[in-house]
Amino acid sequence: MKCEGYFGEYGGQFIPEVLMPAIDELKEAYFELKDDEDFQNELSYYLKNYAGRETPLYYAENLTKKLGGAKIYLKREDLLHGGAHKTNNTIGQALLAKRMGKTRIIAETGAGQHGVGTSMAGALFGLETEIFMGRLDTERQQPNVFRMKLLGAKVTPVDTGSKVLKDAVNEAMRNWTATFENTHYLMGTVMGPHPFPTIVRDFQSVIGKEVKKQIMEQEGRLPDHLVACIGGGSNALGLFHAFIQDKDVRMVGIEAAGKGLNTSLHGASISKGKKGVLHGMLSYFLQDEDGQIEEAYSISAGLDYPGIGPEHAYLHDSGRAEYASATDDQALSAFMELTRSEGIIPALESSHAVAYAIENAGNMDKDEIMVINLSGRGDKDLNTVIDIMQKRGM
């Protein structure tokens, strides 16, 4: 039998047999709708009029001057409805679910951003919505739990395993196994069995397409560096995808180094992970020598997934993209820096990408251009940041 959905050696469909028909149905539906003009028009309509695309590409002049090197632009996904890039994908997949005749959507969430995005789409399109979230994350992300409930979703805390994001994925997959006849599993990032990594990447690639057009208008040329944070990798691929053929454009993904790559508390699955198979895909995972999956850690709940989407694993091995990391502390400093210098409070996830710029932009030439994907806004993280500041007596 022919294997589908591979990026180099990564990807695939490593799923329990019961899910095969559901995955086949999804694949057929998606590849048919992908080029369907009505579907694309409807999607564009909602992205523009509901979600607020296109988002600005903002020249961060103050930050640029302060760092004294490359010109820094911010792609303002924080201004998208819902407060993060997640909305691009949730609207896309909810429309897909509707076209497939599904009446219910389910999703996993860590930080809660994807849960909120899914709940918004569920409300918008009249789909019953259930969100699986690790018990620990429901406690850490109270405001987002409340948002989901307000939006009419059922939030199911997951008490199995380590009670965080990967356990929520397990639970959502289990639920889908029993309910796929009426339910679409609205995957939150570029992971999972084929066709999910492709579907999510396609829906997010609007980010890079806009950047390409906007930077041509503003600078008359392509950027030198694209920088984005990496949880599962969707905002990063969304930014990168339109530029993959443009070999002079560097692409840099920033993983969570947490308390440091030399500790066990991080979420750096490319830097520190090994090839493995989980959640339907062959990719890089944090794991022990027996192949048991290890917990990831990051100050930002959206980055503490122990794996990475398969296309990133491929871009890494082929050398087309580079992967670096930022610690909790570097992300926090970047959070403060962007807030003070530009009046923009970034999500802690996005702050990891900003941290890379702070580290590196000063060493670059003034005519170099760096585009940072500001994947989300920081309102959801205020409690986390306040707690830390108080503990440190700031």
Partner: protein, 258 residues
Amino acid sequence: MNKPVLVSFLVSGDPNPDATLKFMKTLDKYSGVIELGIPFSDPVADGPTIQAADVRSLSNKFKISKSFDILKEFRKESSTPVILMTYYNPVFKRGIENFVIQAKEAGANGLIIVDLPLQEATEYREICKKHEMGTVFLAAPNTPEERLKISDEASTEFLYLISTFGITGARDTFEQMTFDFIKRARTTCKGKICVGFGISKGSHAESLIEQGADGVIVGSAFVDIIKNYGDSEEALVKLEELAKELSEGIDKGYGKRK
């Protein structure tokens, strides 16, 4: 045709490796096949009962090599076929060929890898064939006819029929869908077919065997006993009682068939 059998599932290391060996010996008397689970940190195809067993095992720092050790010990006394059940990552991490060789040396007759579907299993099947290791694939009620045929051909020990949609875990009754599925598989498949997921009583076994299954696979119901009674004499008594009830159910169902 051979008499249908009970396939008994346990998680190795739950609650400790010595107990697993005792449980296996107890179940051996009534079982045609023993399915020995290798615990995994993220068992997405399993229900809460088996997941909790995996956690109990792994939280005692259980290592996969221990599963092989348990099986080696068991082999000193019994020649009952043993199938190792696990997820793909532990196999992938060791290297498929290494894993198969080690399983073979330990005395395993076959492997079930629940998240390695046919279309990803080409290399795995070649390696198993080379080392004469048996393979078991799964099929669900919604598996299309053509795929059911290929799954049957790819399964050297038996084809694992999943009784329903969803995950493992004991349930009360079986739906018509399950019975229809067994009948369909019976006419389509050349090899043996065993039904699993949700079987916990003698009456379940009876009705499923009556429909033509070659075996019933019981996991969560045994694991529940281990959860409740731990590493104790009582656990052995309860396991034996249930195994006996199930095998009587199998006999009755088989009797009704003729």
